[in-house]
Structures are given as C-alpha cells and as structure tokens.
Homo-oligomer: 367 residues x 2
C-alpha cells in the first residue's frame, strides 16, 4: 500500500486527535475527509467488532441540512421513497436519484422537525445537487453543511457503553429512531443505526468542540467492555450486504439495480425528479442487480477496480467489493450480475487483478 | 504518514499502471480519484521538475461536458468571468460561484465549439451543481462526465518532449490555447497549460484505451531528456502562488478574497447566479485576501489543517498550505490574511501544529 499525503483539503475531524492516539494505520478519503480504515489489522478489527464495542469516527458522513417551508418538498424531489409517513424522530435510508433515475447518493435522512431535515450522506458532494435544486426551482429553503460530525458506537456491547454515558434511556431507542440526549449540557441526536450489522448507535455530534470530550468519555466508560477505536470494516460490511456508494454503485445505476427497489415508491413519490425515468424499471425490473458472490479458492487481492464476471466467454457483470472472510472461511464479495446469471447458485468466473477464480452467485448475504 | 486503503471508490486512472511502474510512493485523493504526490521524494521531484520534464497523471482533473443550444448560457450562469469574447480553441481559468458568491470550484474552461464546453475541474463534484442547474432552470443542454483524462507534461523540456511525439506544431500553441493533434489516429486536445510555473502542456486524453500507449510513447521519446513520472509538487505550486481549491479556499470564500477579482467581470457577466451577491464586494473589495507568507525559522511540519495567523493576541488569518523551499531556503506558505495585516512586510505569527513561528506577509509569490 502507498502512503497518503496530508493536506488541509483532506479534512481532519473533531475526533482526529483520538483516532491518532489510538494508533490508526490507514485511511480512505470520504467526502474529502479522513476516514480511518485500519487500527490493529483489518482482521483483528473485524473480530473485535463482532465481540465487543468500537468507537468509529464517521465524521465523513457529512450532513446536508434543509431548513424552511419548502424543506419537505425538496426532500421528496430528491428521492423516489415516499416520505409522507415519516415522523419527526425517525431516520430513513433513501436512494437519491437524478432526473434519469441514476443514483447520486444513498444517505440516511433524519427528520428533525416538519421543516428541518438532515441528509447524512455517502461519498458524493450531494450538497451541490441539493443547493442547485433549491436555487433552480426557487424553493424557500436554506441548504448548508452544518458543524455536525457523526460518531459511531458499534458492536454487541454498544448498548452497555452508551447507557454508561447517556443513561439507560438509550436502550429504548428503536432501530432507525433517534432521541435528543444530553452530553455536557448539549442536546445531541442519538440514533440506533450504523454501518455494521453488529448493532449500535450513531451520535450526531453538533459542535466540533465537544468531539474529543465525548470520544474520551466513551473510551473511559468502555474500559471494562474492551472498547477500542474502530471503523467501518470491509469484511463485515460485505458479509452484511451493506452497499458502498462509489464502490458497488455509481450514477450509472438505478436504485432497482442496487436492490433498493423496496425503498422506491415510484407510484406515490410524486415530485421526485427521477420518478418518470424510474416508472418503467419499477414495473419491468432491472436487467442487472447486486448479488452476494462467493469467490472460491485463494484469498483475493484488494479489489481496487471492477473485476469482470465472466460466463461462457461473455461478461455478465462485475465485482466491486471483495474480501477474505475469516468467519465464513471463503472470499465474500458484492457485484452487479446480469439477469441471465443472477439466479441463486449460478457458477461464474471472476477476473481478479491476480487471475481468474471460480465463483457462485447467492441471493442472500452472509450475516 | 499513514497508508491509503485501496478500493474501487478511489478510482484508478488510464495511467495508473504507468504510475505504479514508475514507483509512486504516496497519493492524495482528488475528485474521488488517485492523484500521485510523491515519486522519488517531494524534494527530488521538485528539483527535477524545474530542470527536466515530467509526465503527470492528472486524470483527477475530471471534465464536466456541456453540450447543446444552452451550453454557453449555462456556462455564464456558473461564473462571474465574462465569457462572451472567449474563442473556440481557448482555455480560460474561471471562478465558479454559488448564488451567494461562494467559490464552488476554480476550474479551467475549454471551449470546444460554440455549443460544446469542457470544465476541467478542481476538487469538488461540480458535475452535480451543473446538472441540477440545467435541470432546475430547464435548460436545453446535456451535462455529463466524459471519458477524458488529462495527462500533464511539465518542465522546461516539455516543448522538446511534446514535439517528439506530436510534431513541432506543439511549439506554436500559445499559453491557454489548444490544438487538436493526432496520436495513434485519435484527435486529442493539447493545451499549453498546467499546474506548475515551469511551462508545459496538458493533453486531454479522450478514451481510456489510449492512456498507456500515450504514457509509454512519452516515456520512450523522453529518455534523452531525463523524463520521469511526476505530479503537482507542493513546494513548487506554493512558490508559484497556484491556489488549491479545498486547501486555500472553500465555499466560504469569494473569488475576491482568493485574489481572483481580476477574473470577475461582475458588471458585464450578466446571468451569473452569484453576480448580485458579488457586486458589493467587487466595489468595496474583500476584508481578507490570499497572500504569500514567509514563515521564518525551522522547516514547518505538514500543513494538514488551517494554522491560525496571530498578531497582538488576535487572529488575523490562517495559513492553509506551507512547505520548506530548498531554492529559497525558507518556508513558503499561502494563507488568508485580514486587511489590517495584509500589507507587504507585515510581521505576524503562525501557530503551526508544532508551535509558534514568526512570519512575514508578501504581496508577490516566489516564482
């Protein structure tokens, strides 16, 4: 692996001092911000995430805030998911599409009030899209990036750790709901959510100044729980079938290709700019779709580019995320597979950077 | 320095194989794409750039293409620079602003035809802004990211190297003009431009398939010229006063604060969405502006965050790029300085990550 050159452009976060003190070994860049990828080793971090509890600096999940009379109208313009029944205090995973139905982001929407939303974004400058939409459509809404940096608390002991800092009320937070809870006199949105299947929370830390005090409080309270700094884990998220925007999908893909058709209410999401483009695909279905792909044989190299999927001498898709899974003792992968080969059990070949390996298509993920 | 974790999301380029074969040691991420930062060492690369010729993989300068009857109208909506006199075959450095006059990007516009433009972007997803503008304003224009990856040829021997591959006609290309020249049967835009003050060209390589053939042809032709793989050099670009979007300016800043007032024709750039917001600042001038800052004393650490500029116990600005310059035997830096202290020769302090160092403000850069 090469080194990453520091610069102001690759933004530090309110928790960077804690991340460095915890011995971060590698980063990726996500929304022009540093996102840790390795602390002890990817595999050690993986086992620990499944057994204990980790603090994740996911500040790179920047917020796009919409505020004003047209905030909800603009939200519905962005997504084919029908938002009308969504309540204040609720989070919702929403595909965001352009006017052709191409995916621009797959964020979590956070409804703070009837006229105030956060969009907790994946890796694209969605702020620019939302701001220009508000401008071009002359909507009565303020759009900006507030000083809010999410901190993840993930792993089977997350409830115990969070209860130690925020009180037992955290145990009552339902999945994809949030409560406003106090830390050092500040009310913070605490949601039961996160980019793993191990359970846990995301704290929307508003105000960079309380970043390190909160990090330290969690580290201190978690000593008996074997808390450790962690980060989204490439192996665990593939096992869990958690997609990554920019890896597993881009603006070339519709939500339906990404298996996100269940989050599209194409008939009722009136106002969504991509609705017309998606109506046909919603009825007929896509011709390719994301699948779990088991790659047999040796441990695969790092998946730093799309790997063609081949059958009978023709390309039938591509793998975009892959890793050796210690728990399942096989290579787990995600990829887009054409209809001709997406059935459970299809045997195809993957052209990795190190050669061809046999693979099997599955309809369910591992976790 | 930490490592960078590979993933498909951090896009490889048509030249990545050549970059790796040339022994790249470090990267940054720019427009979600890998941008090399070090080959031999930052200082060796620096000296070589000033003496010989380098091939730069600057694919990360992605293109936003505008095509159609409203292409030129949309271009003028994006920038306060008056584009009416710009000719086909011309390049133009244009600040791009939002409706409040905040900088969204500082790209080079390339006029391919009266109804076809490329915007060769700095580090922000300008594509999303331009697409949403086209949509919201219902303009008759297609906006997308074409398969075009710029390759830089920079250094005092750039003319000789380019002439060896494209013929002597390259010598006649004027600064910020381009010609369509042939390589392996493909017509490519070849511009006299680039992100250094050492002279050279940028080749807009259309079609990823000819990336490595062109890279190899340049490397082969340049053997006698001591050609080497290189990249934008942090020291040289600060000496030259070349700004970096995301480092030295963000959407918090107006073009006038960035010293780009000379590229704003705020009176005549009718249609620019940020024009009204900029009219007052164009008349009265900004209260802070980018300056060259010489930092005295020891070699400064990597500038990975804004360093406060302090005078009389008050903050009067910030440094956002800094490096030790071997040629000028001092620390060269760029920063935003308030009006009270921006005069030539002002003595102020810089609070670096390693402590306070004395500094002097200059009105001109080093190169």
């Amino acid at each position: 692996m090469a080194l990453i050159s520091p610069s102001r452009r690759l933004r530090r976060t309110p928790f960077s001092d804690g991340v460095e003190a915890s011995g971060v070994k590698a980063y990726t860049v996500y929304n022009r911000m540093l996102l840790p990828t390795v602390f002890r080793s990817v595999e050690e971090d993986y086992h620990h995430l499944k057994e204990a509890v980790q603090i994740w600096d996911v500040s790179c999940e920047r917020q796009v805030e919409l505020r004003g009379p047209d905030a909800t109208r603009l939200m519905q313009m962005l997504t084919p998911r029908d938002l009308r029944k969504m309540q204040v205090g609720q989070c919702s995973y929403i595909p965001i599409v352009d006017e052709t139905g191409g995916m621009l982001n797959d964020p979590v929407a956070v409804k703070l009030a009837d006229d105030r939303w956060w969009i907790s974004i994946a890796d694209s400058d969605l702020l620019l899209w939302v701001k220009a939409m508000a401008h071009g459509w002359r909507l009565d809404v303020l759009v900006d990036e507030p000083d809010v940096s999410p901190l993840g608390v993930q792993g089977p002991r997350a409830d115990d750790l969070m209860a130690a800092v925020f009180g037992d009320t955290v145990r009552d937070i339902r999945f994809f709901r949030f409560k406003m809870l106090e830390f050092q006199g500040r009310k913070l949105a605490v949601a039961r959510s996160g980019y793993s299947k191990q359970g846990g929370f995301e704290i929307y830390v508003e105000g960079a100044d309380i970043g390190m005090p909160l990090w330290n409080a969690l580290m201190e309270a978690g000593k008996a729980l074997d808390v450790h700094a962690g980060c989204p884990n490439g192996i665990e998220r593939i096992e869990s079938g958690l997609l990554s925007y920019g890896n597993d999908m881009t603006d070339d893909n519709t939500p339906h290709e990404c298996g996100l058709g269940k989050f599209c209410n194409t008939q009722s999401a009136i106002g969504c700019v991509g609705r017309d483009a998606l109506l046909r695909v919603a009825v007929e279905g896509p011709v390719q779709q994301i699948r779990a792909i088991e790659i047999h044989g040796n441990k695969v190299p790092a998946c730093d580019r799309p790997w063609p999927l081949v059958a009978d001498g023709r390309q039938v898709g591509q793998v975009t995320s892959a890793a050796w899974s210690p728990d399942f003792a096989t290579n787990v992968a995600l990829g887009m597979v054409r209809m001709t080969h997406w059935d459970e059990g299809s045997e195809i070949d993957v052209v990795t950077s190190h050669g061809i390996q046999a693979a099997t298509v599955w309809n369910t993920f591992w976790n």
